[in-house]
């Protein structure tokens, strides 16, 4: 049993942590899988061009290095934490109107896709490369930010286009999504370290990218709220109660999975 987070940003777009820092953050908290999903904005729109100008999006130029770093970090994450790292991106179609904006998280990608196409075509292109397409924060996010309602407005039309819809993002549960029969996933949409305190997806499958993606597709998953602070308190209490043991993190790493799951709350 392990927790996974499949919507995480790095310094390749608007995140504050580098990919190695993200890996260490999740690895040290005992996660079993994460996906790095930096923004990939449209190339032809003014907003997209402005985002590229300030360096807050993946571009055809940065993508090869992005993929190489994820590849090498995936190996390091596995060797060090037994954590799976999946390459992804968040295709971001941004508009002044919330109802014309849509974000699509793609998991296990191999190729760069310009985000200018129609969302339906984008989802098809994502799936064509063997990746998973997820509708990101499709409803009101409860945050002071531009919203992305395009997919939710057309949810009947798009219900088969996506492998999952985000039912929780950060600390918020999206009741509208929870009430539907759409396939779901819970993520943190991490940009800064404290965003790790958020809803996560719980897996019981093997720690392998294909098994994890299959579990999302087949919805053999559950959702939990993860609080890093509680985990830390537990760790400190645990060590203090056994003063003879050296305060060696590795000792607790083996039990970390079950402990993290125990420190979570369920929405099901």
């Amino acid at each position: 049993m392990f927790l996974g987070d499949f919507h995480v940003h790095s310094t390749f777009s608007d995140g504050k942590l580098t990919i190695p820092q993200v890996v260490d953050l999740y690895g040290k908290h005992g996660f079993g899988a994460i996906a790095i999903t930096d923004h990939l904005c449209e190339e032809q729109t003014v907003i997209g061009k402005a985002t590229a100008y300030i360096g807050c999006t993946l571009t055809p130029a940065t993508f090869p290095i992005y993929m190489e770093i994820i590849r090498s970090e995936a190996k390091r994450a596995w060797d060090l934490y037994k954590m799976v790292v999946i390459p992804g991106y968040e295709l971001s179609k941004n508009s002044i109107s919330n109802h014309r904006s849509a974000h699509i998280v793609a998991l296990n990608v191999t190729d760069y896709i310009p985000a200018d196409a129609d969302p339906f075509d984008l989802a098809k292109k994502v799936k064509a490369q063997g990746a998973l397409a997820i509708a990101a924060h499709p409803v009101w996010t409860r945050k002071l930010e531009a919203q992305t309602y395009y997919l939710w407005d057309r949810r009947d039309e798009f219900k088969n286009a996506f492998d999952a819809w985000e039912v929780a993002s950060g600390p918020f549960i999206f009741d509208e999504v929870a009430r539907t029969k759409l396939p779901k996933i819970a993520v943190s949409d991490l940009h800064i370290p404290r965003h790790i305190n958020a809803w996560k997806t719980l897996f019981t499958c093997e720690r392998h990218p294909e098994a994890i993606l299959e579990a999302i597709k087949k919805q053999q998953i559950d959702f939990r709220f993860f609080n890093a602070q509680q985990t830390l308190v537990r760790e400190i209490q645990h060590v203090a109660s056994q003063p003879m043991l050296p305060p060696h993190v590795g000792l607790w790493a083996r039990k970390r999975d079950s402990r993290n799951v125990a420190n979570t709350r369920s929405i099901r």
Binding site: T11, F12, P20, Y53, A61, I69
Partner: protein
């Protein structure tokens, strides 16, 4: 063949460093530099040196294609990539290696143009010793560091984490992307405290113009915000902007302001030339005056297109520094 090649290469054989190897990468078997390298390798048998002839074809960047066979043979963890026209002091490797602390991804150095001959050579020196050096220092000071490929020191293991040199073959500015990749890994880009000397020698004005139009077009596509700020670093352009502002705000005579501004700017650049090249001549200052006068048209020429001619290849630079033949 580069001017003063033998002296430049010899400086690498004479490094005061406990253990190092030299790997020379030559693309063509007909390259006239081959006898020079062979002679130096014979003259310094105590220095572990290797010569590779031939280029890989991993992308449009001819420098990376040239480097790859030699890079594969490099046995040590710390690698210094250096151009053949760079001349270094005996303690250069030692100093660079000392700067490569655990949190540092790549060490680079500003380039001092030395021994420029003819108008083209002097213009090249003036460019490197004033504008280029000042711009580099400014970028590092404001936290926008970049790497100059004339000399860059990095750890092979870190480079491999970004995909190795091979992945850089698709970019025109492999040096800039090296810095970006290291930054994305969480490592710092550091400027060495001494400039590295580039022996310029004879240089035509045409070659100077073409080379810096190419550099300008690379910078424009690699980091446009910085490139479009460059005219503020030209004496005449910044002086004209100041003259307009001072005239409209306080009624100062624009011509008097411009003369005063260029005088102060010229004194500051004279100090910089003296610091970079170790001497200051009337010829260098004359070249500085000409360079400042042509700086804006030179920059505008770079703005006009995205095509460059490099080592006989006509390349098109795409946004972000990707390149196609």
């Amino acid at each position: 063949m580069e001017s003063g090649l033998e002296d430049s290469l010899r400086s690498f054989f004479q490094q005061d460093y406990p253990q190092y190897e030299l790997v020379f990468c030559v693309a063509e078997p007909q390259d006239p530099c081959l006898p020079v390298i062979a002679e130096l390798m014979k003259r310094f048998p105590q220095t572990d040196s290797t010569l590779t002839i031939g280029a890989a074809q991993v992308g449009a960047n001819p420098k990376i294609n040239n480097l790859l066979p030699g890079y594969g043979l490099a046995r040590n963890e710390i690698v210094l990539v250096s151009d053949s026209n760079v001349r270094v002091p005996d303690d250069y490797l030692k100093g660079l290696a000392r700067t490569l602390r655990p949190d540092v991804g790549v060490v680079t150095a500003s380039v001092a143009g030395t021994s420029g001959e003819g108008l083209g050579g002097r213009l090249e020196s003036a460019y490197l010793n004033t504008f280029a050096a000042r711009w580099m220092q400014l970028c590092f000071a404001i936290g926008k560091p970049f790497v100059i490929g004339k000399t860059m020191l990095f750890r092979k293991s870190l480079m491999d984490r970004c995909g190795g040199l091979k992945v850089l073959g698709r970019y025109i500015a492999e040096d800039f992307m090296t810095g970006e990749a290291m930054r994305q890994l969480g490592y710092r880009v550091v400027l060495y405290n001494q400039p590295v000397a580039q022996f310029i020698g004879k240089h035509s004005v045409k070659a100077f113009w073409a080379r810096h139009v190419r550099w300008g077009r690379i910078r424009k596509n690699q980091y446009a915000p910085g490139f479009f700020m460059e005219p503020t670093q030209y004496a005449l352009t910044s002086g004209a902007m100041g003259a307009i502002a001072f005239a409209s705000l306080w009624g100062v005579s624009p011509m008097e302001f411009l003369i005063f501004h260029c005088g102060v700017w010229g004194c500051a650049d004279a100090l910089l030339i003296w610091r970079m090249e170790g001497r200051l001549t009337i010829g260098a200052m004359a070249a500085w005056c000409i360079r400042e006068c042509i700086a804006l048209p030179h920059w505008l020429h770079a703005v006009a297109s995205n095509h460059v001619l490099w080592r006989g290849n006509r390349l098109r630079i795409l946004e972000g520094g990707l390149v196609t033949v």
